[in-house]
């Protein structure tokens, strides 16, 4: 039986007239069990077969897909989709799924072995087919896909792509991988964000199989099909934002489903045994010194069950030693969010030829990475800028930058480090 625990980190003391309450809520799930523990699970592997894949990448993709199939537990529903400017269900054929067992496993691998490259790329069509395929198994409450591409979404309009993503939202979760340097980070990120998944770069085709194996193994360890973060705030207050801040940054503010006028749910997708942090900010009306007020109740909800709860408080005080402290977790993740923005804005400016803005933004990123102890981000930034002084954020853009290094920095920008405990 899965258990959730919620811990709240905050400085609850506000100065006279203070209104904004920030808290980091750390949620830990344990005893989640394997996929399919709480109802049927379903997996789809989506492989790009466009011509640009070429021999090496296609070999790697076939191998990766087979390795992923091997990770899927017996009894889990599954299907394989091949995609170019349209999508085709290559196993079991038609828009259908079958349960994994030794014979379907072997048959699927045979179908994968027969994949050949052809055509362009219209990822939206792949998402549409995946949704339709999942719909064939209404009993599958846990729905997950792995999507692999190597190139840009050239065979459909941006509007069609966006519409396909919107149509798929809430219907399945999707982890996206881009192999090589020719795909658009922003395109895959928009899918991963909407479909509550991760996005990552596979620099070399030979690394693909290992990555897919890890991805599918992780999916199989998620025994909680779907959980939501429930937020109650008092009458008269505003929710400033709700975002996941660890292990990756995800903006959740706009994804609220109202439960009642004071309470809303934010989707968090499936859970294995893991821990995630959320940053919640609420604005309340100020009360007199000495008063106390609950600014938020944060709870984890699975189906109809409230699994855990945390309280976010506000206490007004005239003691400056209390009110001027910033909670370490809140400060850390505020810095990490700013770091991600600085990296993404800097790279976008560089791509648009605005070197001045790029230098400023990436310099700020270097400064923040140093402050928050994010060594991984610093190492990736070093591949794109020469660092003169990390404390002041003085940097120079490198003349020659490997595109893969830039993309690695971009995809990793939403991965956060945790506060050391």
């Amino acid at each position: 039986m899965a258990e959730f625990k919620a811990e709240v980190f905050q400085n609850e003391y506000l100065a006279d007239g203070g209104t904004d309450v920030h808290a980091v809520v750390s949620v830990t799930c344990s005893g989640a069990g394997a996929a399919g523990s709480s109802g049927d699970a379903a997996e789809i592997i989506i492989v790009d077969i466009s011509t640009s894949m070429g021999v090496d990448k296609m070999n790697a993709a076939r191998q990766g897909a087979m390795v992923a199939v091997d990770q899927i537990n017996d009894g889990v529903w599954f299907g394989i989709i091949a995609g170019n400017e349209r999508a085709v269900n290559i196993y079991p054929g038609r828009a259908a799924m079958v349960r994994m067992d030794p014979s379907t496993r072997a048959a699927a691998k045979q179908a994968i072995a027969g994949l050949r490259t052809s055509g362009g790329t219209a990822i939206g069509t792949w998402l549409h087919l995946a949704s339709a395929t999942f719909d064939q198994v209404p009993s599958a409450t846990q729905r997950h896909a792995i999507l692999l591409t190597d190139g840009q979404n050239q065979s459909e309009t941006p509007e069609a792509f966006a519409a396909a993503i919107a149509a798929a939202e809430g219907r399945f979760q999707c982890d996206c991988r881009g192999v090589g340097a020719d795909w658009q980070v922003a395109e895959l990120r928009s899918i991963a964000t909407a479909l509550l998944g991760t996005v990552d770069l596979i620099a070399r085709p030979e690394d693909l199989a290992a990555d897919f194996e890890a991805l599918m193994r992780d999916a199989m360890s998620r025994g909680v099909a779907s959980a939501a973060l429930r937020l109650w705030t008092p009458q008269g207050s505003n929710i400033l934002f709700v975002r996941q801040v660890a292990p990756t940054l995800e903006e959740l503010t706009g994804r609220r489903t109202e439960i009642n006028p004071l309470t809303g749910d934010y989707p968090t997708g499936s859970w294995g045994d893991e821990s995630r942090d959320y940053h919640v900010a609420v604005r309340v009306a100020p009360k007199p010194i000495g008063s106390e007020q609950l600014a938020a109740r944060v709870s984890l909800v699975v189906g109809a069950d409230v699994m855990s709860a945390g309280l976010v408080k506000a206490i007004w005080s005239d003691d400056a030693t209390l009110t001027t402290r910033i909670n370490a977790a809140v400060a850390h993740f505020t810095g990490q969010a700013e770091l991600a923005d600085a990296i993404q804005e800097g790279l976008a400016a560089k791509a648009a030829g605005d070197d001045a803005t790029a230098t400023t933004k990436l310099g700020r990123a270097v400064q923040l990475a140093a402050e928050t102890g994010d060594e991984d981000a610093t190492a990736k930034l070093r591949k794109v800028v020469d660092i003169d002084d990390p404390d002041t954020g003085t940097v120079r853009l490198k003349r020659q930058v490997d595109k893969l290094d830039e993309m690695a920095l971009d995809t990793a920008s939403t991965k956060t480090t945790r506060v050391k405990r």
Binding site: E7, P234, S237, P288, G290, A328, H332, K420
Partner: protein, 414 residues
């Protein structure tokens, strides 16, 4: 559902017996024997007044783990008896209070019994304890016991939790009660001099028992392993002041550590501060610095002695007093005397509220309300015992406060 009859809680102990121990009153929540007159169960903190609030706010501090049923902090006055459906509606908006102790609509905390409570173990002895206006928690505590016959026996203990230390509200309440229990034991007999010595020793024991409680309060709750290390500071262990005053027939004996005070306010004439503060300002004045200069300094109120784990010295300073006329024994925390420090001024203030034969509960309540009107900067405790006149003279009645040597150099106290 509380099956405790509220009238049983406030009934005085059987005449002639020391208060408490023989009573059959039990806490409806945990079953521990409780002292009649207590508002909270010492074992679990549940309110002993009918119609208890429920919901304990989760532990304070920077990191809290809240399961769906947060654990109650003892003596917070709000460990919900499971069937207590008669929760009071939210004082701010009238909405329902949730199990976690906050309103479901506006988030205001349920009013804790600890925020304002009174005790009256006998008609002539009472105390009122109040959160004040500026503090969000009441860290003052008071514990009383008394025999019903006016002027026969009473023990008044006030402890003021030091705000900068963690869980000092738990420390002050358990300390005050432990001290009161020691003072409520068998009374010494013999002549006045013998009884003064015996009470001096007993009050010292009471302070030691109180100190043991303060030291024992678990201060680790808020500095849990889940606090990010960048956040860990050295949190002060819980601490509180201590003043205990005993009325035993013609004599009053007082022991104190810190800056909570006892005064004798006679109906006609003598108005005396019985205690001396253990504070920076008092130290300075003792060295000759003018009072106005010493009391104006920002360090004036820093206390130099207290009860608690890091206390330099928890031995109370003992004084005795034998009134030569009727009057009031007043024991209070600095929430009151900060607004009215001189004994003569305090006597005038008290007399302005006290018609002849005043009820000490009402009088204490008036003084507390007055302190709140002045700003309520701190928690306020006022304990009063009405002493109507000296017993027939038995030898060395002096009418003056005399220090009983406690092993310290004689003559160090006025």
């Amino acid at each position: 559902m509380s099956d405790l009859d509220p009238s049983a809680v406030t009934a005085p102990a059987t005449p002639g017996d020391p208060a408490a121990v023989a009573s059959e009153v039990r806490c409806p929540s945990c079953g521990e024997v409780v002292v009649p007159g207590d508002q909270f169960c010492e074992g679990c903190g549940a309110s002993l007044v009918g119609g208890a609030d429920h919901g304990a706010p989760a532990a304070e501090g920077d990191a809290r783990t809240a399961q769906v049923q947060p654990a109650a902090r003892p003596a917070d006055g709000a460990a919900a008896p499971a069937s207590s459906a008669a929760a009071r509606p939210c004082p701010a908006c009238g909405g329902a209070i949730a199990d976690d102790g906050y309103c479901e609509v506006c988030g205001a905390p349920a009013v804790s019994e600890r925020d304002h409570f009174s005790e009256q173990p006998a008609p002539w002895v009472a105390a009122v304890c109040d959160k004040g206006i500026r503090h969000h928690r009441n860290e003052d505590a008071v514990a009383l016991s008394a025999d019903p016959a006016p002027g026969s026996f009473a023990a008044l203990v006030v402890c003021d939790g030091v705000s900068s230390s963690v869980d000092s509200d738990l420390a002050s309440l358990s300390a005050a009660r432990a001290a009161r229990d020691v003072l409520s034991g068998p009374r010494p007999d013999g002549g006045v001099a013998g009884r003064l010595t015996a009470w001096s020793a007993r009050i010292t024991d009471a302070a030691a028992a109180a100190n043991e409680q303060a030291v024992g309060v678990n201060a680790v709750e808020s500095a849990s392993a889940s606090t990010p290390t960048a956040e860990v500071e050295i949190l002060s262990p819980p601490s509180c002041t201590f003043v205990a005053a005993v009325v035993d027939g013609p004599v009053i004996v007082v022991g104190s550590v810190g800056d909570s005070r006892a005064y004798w306010l006679g109906d006609a004439g003598a108005a005396v501060a019985l205690t001396q503060d253990d504070s920076w300002a008092a130290d300075q004045i003792g060295r000759g610095v003018p009072r106005s200069v010493a009391e104006a300094d920002s360090k004036a109120h820093a206390i130099t002695r207290w009860l608690g784990a890091d206390s330099p010295d928890a031995t109370p300073t003992i004084v005795s007093w034998q009134p030569d006329g009727p009057g009031w024994l007043l024991v209070c925390s600095d929430g009151l005397w900060n607004y009215c420090s001189e004994a003569a001024d305090l006597a005038a203030l008290l007399h302005s509220f006290a018609p002849h034969g005043a009820d000490p509960v009402e009088l204490a309540g008036s003084l507390v309300a007055w302190a709140n009107e002045q700003g309520g900067q701190d928690n306020i405790t006022v304990a009063l015992a009405r002493v109507d006149g000296p017993a027939p003279a038995t030898g060395d009645a002096t009418g003056a406060a005399t220090a009983i040597p406690t092993g310290a150099a004689p003559g160090t106290q006025p």
